[in-house]
């Protein structure tokens, strides 16, 4: 096969920008670099010296699409450090808001970024205008799905992006329960559209299978994004406070983001919806289990494209969970739980849409941040993404350049990487020697 260079300027339809450089010698991939090219803003340093009450809102600005995840992880880290235990109502409202986040965020990824790959078009802008066309139906389904997710967060925490109502210890303002019946009715109405999406992603035949380890939060009582211990594929169980001790930091010379290995296995690992579905599908809502039964039979799965299917199922899970909360929650007039400032260190470890998100706050006796650390899911997946791409390139070197590029982009897209958390344009340099 002749030497050749392939350059893809941008991997589009992901959240942010990243780059890929591939060097092929003698028909073998000698080097592959997945490059997180977004410029860092050093937020963890910027919060040092700030009073804790202002920090979670500031750190929600790490990311536009998962701002609620950063907000909640930061609140939980600060509360843990200050010895604050929030009320059951606060926990329920956070869970409800998080269902809204997951519905909106997963739907954006699945329908706006991935669906064009399935339909064989460049963009949602190229989807047929014919209302009878399946692509048109799915795209317009997505508007309703995204909208209900956004409206839940608007109703519960004041906004879908950089929400103003959550604060350390609880909420500055409670939602209006008069909005709940309409939300329930719309959630019930959207279920059929969500199920149509699940069928679509189940039917997509894309496949890249590679053995890997999966890490996710597990709460034995329910499918939960906000509470639990970390477990891996071998059912090793790690308390939240010890999680970072199990991560081996890997500085990646070509990337603005760092990478991590799991110290127990000293191997790469995957976080995100695929990990959650592999580890926790037994805990899904009964309605979700019943109505998504045929899709759930695909798990456990080592096919990275099934991260898309897992996200589609999680949308249904969040719809069903939100309906339950909205139907049963009786709101009391509560003020945020407060505590005297104290020195301490706390961890907030939750499942962001893309996987485990770690915030650590070290606070001095005056309630001022002394040190802060954030580990985002896309950084944890970085090494795994590179290894998946190496396998894919090595197995498909006979394919034409256009196929190699398209496959690489769709593999990266399957991870739903968030470049605001970790990257910003995917330029592929494929160098054959």
């Amino acid at each position: 096969m002749p030497d050749r260079n392939i350059v893809i300027d941008t991997i589009a339809k992901i959240e942010g920008n990243s780059a890929l450089k591939v060097v092929i010698e003698d028909d073998v991939v000698r080097d592959l670099q997945f490059i997180v090219s977004d410029y860092r803003r050093f937020f963890a340093t910027a919060v040092r010296g700030r009073r804790v009450v202002a920090v979670p809102s500031f750190l929600s600005r790490i990311c536009g699409t998962c701002s609620v995840a950063h907000l909640f992880a930061s609140l939980m880290a600060v509360e843990s450090a200050q010895g604050i235990t929030v009320t059951e109502q606060t926990k329920a409202l956070r869970r409800l808001a998080y269902d809204g986040l997951m519905i909106r965020d997963h739907a954006l990824h699945l329908y706006f970024f991935v669906l064009p790959d399935i339909l064989g078009v460049d963009s949602i802008l190229d989807v047929s205008d014919d209302p009878e066309d399946l692509g048109h139906t799915l795209l317009h389904d997505s508007f309703d799905i995204k909208r209900i997710g956004t409206d839940i967060t608007n109703a519960v925490i004041g906004a879908a992006i950089h929400a103003p109502w959550p604060t350390v210890g609880g909420f500055l303002r409670s939602p209006d329960p008069a909005t709940f019946p309409d939300l329930v009715a719309r959630l019930e109405a959207v279920r059929q559209k969500v199920l149509r999406g699940i069928d679509t992603f189940l039917g997509w035949g894309a496949s890249l299978v590679r053995n890997t380890d999966y890490l996710g939060l597990r709460n034995d009582r329910r499918f939960d994004f906000l509470e639990g211990d970390v477990v891996n594929s071998n059912r090793r169980r790690i308390p939240q406070s010890e999680f970072k001790n199990y991560l081996q930091y890997v500085q990646i010379p070509h990337s603005h983001a760092e990478g991590y290995r799991f110290s127990d296995t000293e191997e790469d690992y995957l976080v995100g919806a695929l990990a959650r579905m592999n580890l926790n599908r037994d805990l899904l809502h009964p309605r979700t289990k019943d109505d998504a039964a045929s899709s759930l039979s695909a798990f456990p799965s080592n096919n990275v494209y099934h991260n898309n299917l897992a996200q589609a199922i999680e949308i249904l899970q969040c719809v069903d969970d939100a309906i339950d909360i909205l139907r049963t929650l009786e709101l009391a007039d509560e003020k945020p739980v407060q505590a005297q400032a104290q020195a301490g260190t706390g961890v907030g470890l939750i499942e962001a849409p893309r996987g485990l998100l770690y915030h650590m706050a070290k606070i001095d006796e005056d309630g001022v941040i002394d040190a802060y650390d954030v580990i985002v899911p896309t950084a944890q997946n970085q090494i795994n993404i590179e290894n998946d791409l190496k396998d894919d390139f090595n197995e498909n070197l006979d394919e034409d350049e256009e196929t190699l590029r398209a496959d690489a982009e769709s593999i990266v897209r399957a991870y739903d990487p968030c470049m605001s958390c970790a990257t910003n344009f995917l330029k592929i340099d494929l160098i054959r020697k």
Binding site: A12, R41, F112, K146, H162, F425
Partner: protein
Amino acid sequence: MERSPQQTSGTDQRKRLVVGWFSFTCCEDSTILLTELLNDHFDQWKRLVEFRHMTTLKANNSLCGLDVAFIEGAISSESQAEEVRRIRDNAQYVVAIGACACTGKPSTSRNQFASAQINERIRWYLSHFDYGKEVKTLDEVIRVDDMVRGCPMKVPSFLQTLNKYLEHFGIVEHA
């Protein structure tokens, strides 16, 4: 200037507002908000607006002949500055979108770091990649015609600005 654009989607050939949407150093909250606005405006905007450059939504992009470039984010490096100058050269009008583009904050946080705050890990990133000495607002680098402020952008202000250019280019008539 860029070479001729490729037609993006299969709509009719009536004049549409040709826009580019770009993102630099920021959390992309306004980009996410724009995707939310598509829930309600997709069918209308598809008739009125050609998104000629928007990597968030499409792989087939061109800078050529933009009527309006919407630019989100602050400018962290000379390579980013070169890129926005290229966008400026290809666009009749430039609109700064969101707090980071308009005011720099919070992306300019590192401009205020005391030397003691710049630890070994930060120093490695600053020296290993082409970080500029300071993060800049968009209008410190290129001429900006309009600003849509907010973190994320204020939706009424964005819609008003978009409508202003739809009217200016004769896509819609003044209400």
